[in-house]
């Protein structure tokens, strides 16, 4: 008998190691059945379980105990059992509950996407396009906070925060000393550095990367440009910091590097955390060794007019057989 556990998610069976969460099992399958995750971050221990967007239905507990779980469960914090059957997008109940969570996440969100630096690469934006309502049913004043400068490189815009706690985990686990956290309780709780002490640490900039919304933004990039006008390029440099390997994504506009971020995988998680020197100080092409254009999914708004766009050659326009062969690409170009 193998040690692997068999789990079926939306009819697709996969074998995973014991102790894997349902969400990570779904990520091994990939595609549409991966539940969205706003607060879970695989690189941060203890994260997850809070935003409730990744809820799924367990229709069969395990081979030994086939009873379904009574409630929808957070897939990021529920470990798989052998023979477990999970419904995600095949269950209307899950989709309804998820759209409820999205609505609830948005009721106090300012929806200021037009002036938000995160727009275009915002998890909440993607999530609400997919699951949200067009109109809110919330008719009360939204909660507001003052903007806070956390050090000279990071700004906290608490209005946009969805309290995923990721930045708290980053400060706990990656930097040496945590000086910020959650203050207050309930819907007036806020992320704050107590008495606004600056987060001063070599790795503090990573809070920007893990923030799923535009609550923590890079002050060196603020209002410089929209992400979909910039071109991401993978690059690296020899970083002196022992914990940073200097592998980053540079975001170009013309010949200028507008910002530097860590490299992100298909689930929006950074591959490796980078130090503040790489992120904030090195903004010249000469500092970096360019590797290749960053692969961006063709469904992302960032790729809308860069690399993946198919420009039909003149010969295709005249040749029917070639048109037929490139049908999908041609349809895509006509969309833009």
């Amino acid at each position: 008998m193998s040690d692997l556990m068999k789990v079926t998610i939306d009819g697709i069976t996969v074998e995973v190691a014991p102790g894997t969460s349902i969400l990570n099992a779904a990520r091994q399958i990939g595609g549409d059945i991966v539940p969205p995750a706003m607060c879970y971050y695989s690189k941060l221990e203890g994260s997850g379980g809070k935003c409730r967007t990744c809820i799924v239905k367990v229709s069969k507990g395990s081979e030994k105990d086939p009873r379904p779980m009574p409630k929808l469960v957070a897939s990021c914090r529920t470990t798989v059992m052998d023979g477990m059957e999970v419904q995600n997008i095949t269950s209307p109940e899950v989709l309804e509950a998820r759209s409820g969570v999205v609505e609830i996440l948005l009721i106090n969100h300012p929806l200021d996407c037009p002036v938000c630096d995160q727009a275009g690469e915002c998890d909440l934006q993607d999530l609400s396009y997919e699951h949200g309502l067009q109109k809110t049913r919330y008719e009360f004043e939204r909660r507001t906070f003052e903007r806070i400068d956390i050090g000279d490189k990071i700004q906290l815009h608490m209005n946009r925060c969805i309290l995923c706690y990721r930045c708290v985990f980053v400060a706990d686990q990656i930097t040496n000393k945590r000086v910020h956290g959650i203050l207050n309780r309930g819907d007036h709780s806020e992320i704050s550095t107590y008495i606004q002490t600056a987060v001063d640490n070599d790795f503090s900039g990573n809070v920007i990367d893990v923030c799923p919304v535009g609550a923590l933004t890079d002050k060196t990039f603020r209002f410089k440009n929209r992400v979909w006008f910039t071109k991401p390029v993978d690059a690296h440099r020899d970083c002196n910091h022992e914990k940073c390997n200097g592998k980053v994504t540079l975001w170009y506009k013309g010949a200028d590097v507008l910002r530097v971020t860590a490299r992100k995988d298909q689930f929006g998680e950074v591959e490796e955390f980078i130090c503040n020197e790489c992120r904030f100080e090195k903004k010249a092409t000469a500092d970096w060794t360019i590797e290749q254009p960053t692969h961006i999914s063709d469904t992302s708004v960032i790729s809308s007019n860069h690399y993946e766009t198919f420009k039909p050659l003149p010969v295709i326009k005249e040749n029917l057989a070639l048109q037929q062969a490139n049908k999908v690409e041609l349809e895509k170009t006509s969309k833009f």
Binding site: K50, C51, R52, L163, D187, S189
Partner: protein
């Protein structure tokens, strides 16, 4: 006259002192348990007694104890949950106030049964007088040799500490309580792992309500089988009920489970009826988080049989026509009370007490409160009523801890049973500010043997 196990000597002068408590047979259980029984035998007695958790969920205590992991070399803890803060529930405070040694005695026996050498009583921060009473009682017990090193010469050691909380309702949730006890922010943990495996400081821990622990004393004294004879069905023993609201004699009553609700409200032995000659409109049977019921469904099932004070009987009919025993906070509303205002008040409480960790509860409780506030103050719309139902459904079951459910149920049930009154608030915004909807048909007795009982908006 019902049997009293916990409050039998409550009126004896000086029962809060060790001396008088011992004269009335106190600490017999400690001697019996530590000297003659093994820990497993005690767990077995508690299992036999059928004692169910008195804090609200009603989980069998003996079973909870038997789930406790017992790895070698790792300390185990017993934590008493005295963070009683549910609106309408005040039984634990009463018990700790007047007969603190009952809790201490229960703690010693339970700690011995679980093999814990350090135990904590986590008391809500507002109960400062009770904390002092407990500390005094612990000092007395220690001086008499019931606590500390080598108890009664048996070689069993137990240190008992009282820890004041910060006064947050959420710290009554067992994992939030443990976080708070560890000195962290009182956020509920994500389960599994359950405290029985990894609780306080990552060690196996049992968290029990004050009343559950106190009830262990009569179980050990008289035996589990004797205890199981009291009560009805799977609801065994006696239960403290905190009766409040428009009653002639509100207060804490010890009842045998299985007492008819009607008798509890109207008999002179208990609440003595509704105050000022008014009529009963509605009740909340188990503290603010359980569904509210109109008077007719409080007294009878939907089929006309009388409802009893027990775990099963109160939840008969599910959420459609039933409620829950919960923590035993019995609140009665007379005909002059406004259900909308009361629902708003409960929603306000849960909004204030939500810890803010998971999104449905953090944002949803505030939303519920705002919409209910609007309805109560005459700015409501018809669509608000369905909105409330919808929002409460989005919260229920989608949160880490049961606070989300507790916030959603009162709202959903109030609308389920009192929709007329909510609609009246929308239709008569001015009148609803100065007068009340009144009794309407909420107390129309349910007749037996009626095929289709007419209920309000089911």
């Amino acid at each position: 006259m019902g049997r009293k196990l916990l409050l039998e000597h409550i009126n004896v002068p000086g029962i809060n002192t060790l001396e008088v408590y011992r004269q009335k047979g106190g600490y017999r259980a400690v001697e019996k348990a530590i000297k003659t029984l093994t820990p497993d035998e005690i767990v077995e007695e508690v299992k036999k007694s059928g004692l169910r958790g008195r804090g609200g969920a009603g989980f069998p205590t003996g079973m909870k104890w038997s789930f406790l992991a017992k790895p070698e070399g790792v300390p185990r803890y017993l934590v008493c949950n005295a963070d009683e803060s549910e609106p309408g529930t005040f039984k634990d405070r009463y018990l700790m106030n007047y007969i603190p040694h009952a809790l201490i005695e229960g703690m010693i026996v339970s700690s011995f049964a679980l093999g814990a050498n350090t135990s904590y009583i986590y008391v809500r921060g507002e109960m400062m007088p009770q904390i002092r009473i407990l500390e005094k009682a612990i000092a007395e017990a220690k001086a008499a040799g019931f606590l500390g090193q080598n108890i009664l010469g048996t070689g069993y050691n137990l240190e008992l500490y009282v820890q004041p909380g910060g006064g947050a309702y959420i710290c009554g949730e067992e994992t939030a309580l443990l976080e708070s006890l560890e000195g962290k922010r009182g956020n509920p943990r994500i389960k599994p792992p359950f405290p029985a495996i990894a609780g306080l400081y990552g060690c196996p821990t049992v968290v029990n309500n004050v009343e559950s622990i106190a009830a262990v004393v009569p179980i050990i004294n008289d035996g589990g089988d004797e205890y199981a004879k009291i009560g009805i069905g799977r609801s065994t023993g006696t239960k403290l009920i905190s009766a409040s609201g428009n009653l002639v004699k509100p207060g804490v009553y010890e009842i045998e489970l299985g007492l008819p609700v009607e008798e509890f409200i109207y008999s002179d032995e208990y609440c003595g009826g509704i105050a000022n000659g008014k009529r009963l409109k509605a009740t909340v049977a188990g503290g603010s988080s359980v569904p509210i019921l109109p008077a007719n469904l409080t007294l009878k099932y939907a089929n006309g049989d009388p409802r009893l004070m027990s775990y099963e009987s109160l939840s008969e009919g599910g959420f459609a026509t039933g409620t829950m025993l919960g923590s035993g906070g019995f609140i009665a509303f007379d005909e002059d009370q406004c259900i909308v205002r009361n629902t708003w008040n409960f929603a306000r409480f849960y909004h204030h007490e939500s810890c803010g960790q998971c999104s449905p509860c953090r944002e949803g409780t505030g939303w519920l409160e705002k919409v209910l506030h609007r309805l109560e103050y005459g700015h409501g719309k018809m669509s608000d009523i369905d909105l409330l139902v919808d929002v409460s459904k989005k919260i229920e079951g989608n949160t880490i801890c049961p606070l989300g459910d507790a916030a959603a149920w009162p709202v959903a049930s109030a609308i389920r049973h009192f929709r007329d009154e909510f609609e009246w608030h929308v239709k008569e915004p001015v009148k609803s500010l100065s007068s009340n909807y009144g009794l309407a048909n909420y107390a129309v007795p349910i007749e037996k043997k009626v095929e289709e009982v007419k209920q309000d908006n089911l």
